[in-house]
Assembly symmetry: C2
């Protein structure tokens, strides 16, 4: 299998699992099921769960079944954060992945609850695994920390409070290492844990990859095609980004540099990292 085939194979496994997770009996609260499905199925790239599966595979564990609940939990958390980020009181976005945002379709109240529901359901999904409890405990710790006040939410708060202000490089890095970086690091960690390795065995890789991912996002916000991205571009006007802070050329250099650092870090790990390296370059070149 070449890289694209393998990527598409993994994405299919993940989408099939997410589908099954979001299939419910008919109940009076049906609207929330619809709202959850709407946002999860709106067509994300599934980068985080793909990473989890690929790391497990790199360490020789190819049976993904027991990893899927944790990988899916991270995707549910990522999706909830987008729904809440798009709310009128946050970024006030009408479009996400080429479709109207949750509050545009279901109204604000249901959008708030759909976010809450996806976050809660992530942990319910972890609770429902019938893994050995000690692996579950480890996974729960990694994921809940990455998504919380010391991880993603911490970054979101710094983001909101930095709006309209000129911030320095240190704060920009803190913001993104938390807001985007932590969930990406957690995705790599759960793959390693599942394969019986230390959760930090690929942390140099995941840290650089997370940063590269965010720099690319900032570049796409300026250079990207709104149609391909499926969301409004040039909306970061009020925000400090790698592009506004360093200029487009330097940001592009930084992107290459961080990607190379990620790939170099992989070479120090005793594992079959071919797919992960290709993934790093694929993310460097992505148009959406």
């Amino acid at each position: 299998m070449d890289f694209i085939e393998s990527l598409s194979h993994k994405t299919k496994i993940i989408n099939r699992y997410l589908d099954s997770l979001l299939t419910f009996d008919n109940l009076p609260q049906n609207t929330i099921f619809e709202a959850m499905r709407y946002s999860v199925k709106a067509g994300g790239k599934r980068i985080r769960p793909v990473l989890a599966l690929s790391v497990s595979e790199a360490f020789g564990r190819h049976d993904f079944e027991g990893l899927l609940p944790y990988a899916a939990a991270i995707e549910l958390i990522h999706t909830y954060s987008l729904i809440h980020d798009d709310l009128p009181c946050m970024d006030n976005d009408d479009l996400r992945r080429g479709k109207p945002t949750s509050h545009k379709v279901f109204g604000e109240a249901i959008a708030v609850l759909a976010g809450d529901a996806l976050l809660n359901y992530a942990f319910e999904t972890i609770a429902n695994t019938d893994d050995d409890p000690s692996m579950k405990a480890k996974m729960l710790k990694v994921i809940s920390r990455a998504s919380g006040i010391f991880g993603m939410i911490g970054g979101q708060v710094v983001d909101i409070e930095s709006e309209g202000k000129k911030i320095d490089k240190e704060r920009l890095l803190y913001l993104h290492n938390h807001k985007t970086g932590e969930l990406i690091r957690a995705s790599v960690s759960i793959g390693a844990i599942y394969a019986g390795k230390d959760e930090n065995i690929m942390s140099a890789f995941s840290k650089s990859l997370g940063l590269a991912f965010q720099i690319k996002d900032d570049i796409l916000d300026v250079e990207g095609n709104c149609e391909k991205l499926g969301k409004k571009t040039r909306k970061d006007g009020e925000k400090s980004t790698f592009v506004t802070l360093f200029g487009l050329d330097v940001a592009k250099e930084m992107l290459k540099e961080e990607t190379n650092k990620a790939v170099l870090a992989l070479e120090k790990v005793c594992a079959d990292t071919t797919f992960l390296k290709d993934l790093a370059y694929y993310l460097l070149d992505r148009q959406s």
Copy 2:
């Protein structure tokens, strides 16, 4: 110790634990710590964690240390649900427990994130316990289900969709058994699990208690004193409640009936249920 002393003793233990849980180092995301503390410390009755401790005690387990993280997790979840319920797009409340609501103090964006943060931190708190992983797994399952789409959030959705409509008794019961009832049931369940009992051993008690609790809330909304309640009264005008559906007199009869059912259910359980019975009557008579 008489009932009031014992209640105050348990409340103190819980408040001390919550304080320690919400003490953080100084970090760039400090605002979220403040917002979390503001709502948790606004002075709730701590009924849910008190229930958990009392059930454990009824079954003879008096060392609460290992139970506190789970009991506190439920209180954090309860608090997050209030913050999100109060948002302008939901109930649009300015006052809660006698103080301005979270979005009035911190703005809507931070209020949304403070809710998210408390929900996530509940699970992070569970993750950080160093209990045996199999008890942790059981607790996680009970709590995550009770707070999610098949529990509290399910009830919130039905509540929102019932606004301005005349609903029947069946739907009203479904709504409240989920919105209020599930977290109360979970509080009782975790106390039982901690004492080594089946999680459902007191389910007849907790079901009736949860219902009585909600009927009392509806009565207080009509009869209560705004100052004592610390929130706007008569705000349920748009909503179907036990009072609007059955009238005040019948609602009061139902409250007594459910409380008696709760107390009777306790007599069938082999445990020292004196405190729990007193608690049921205390909740019947409460003025806030």
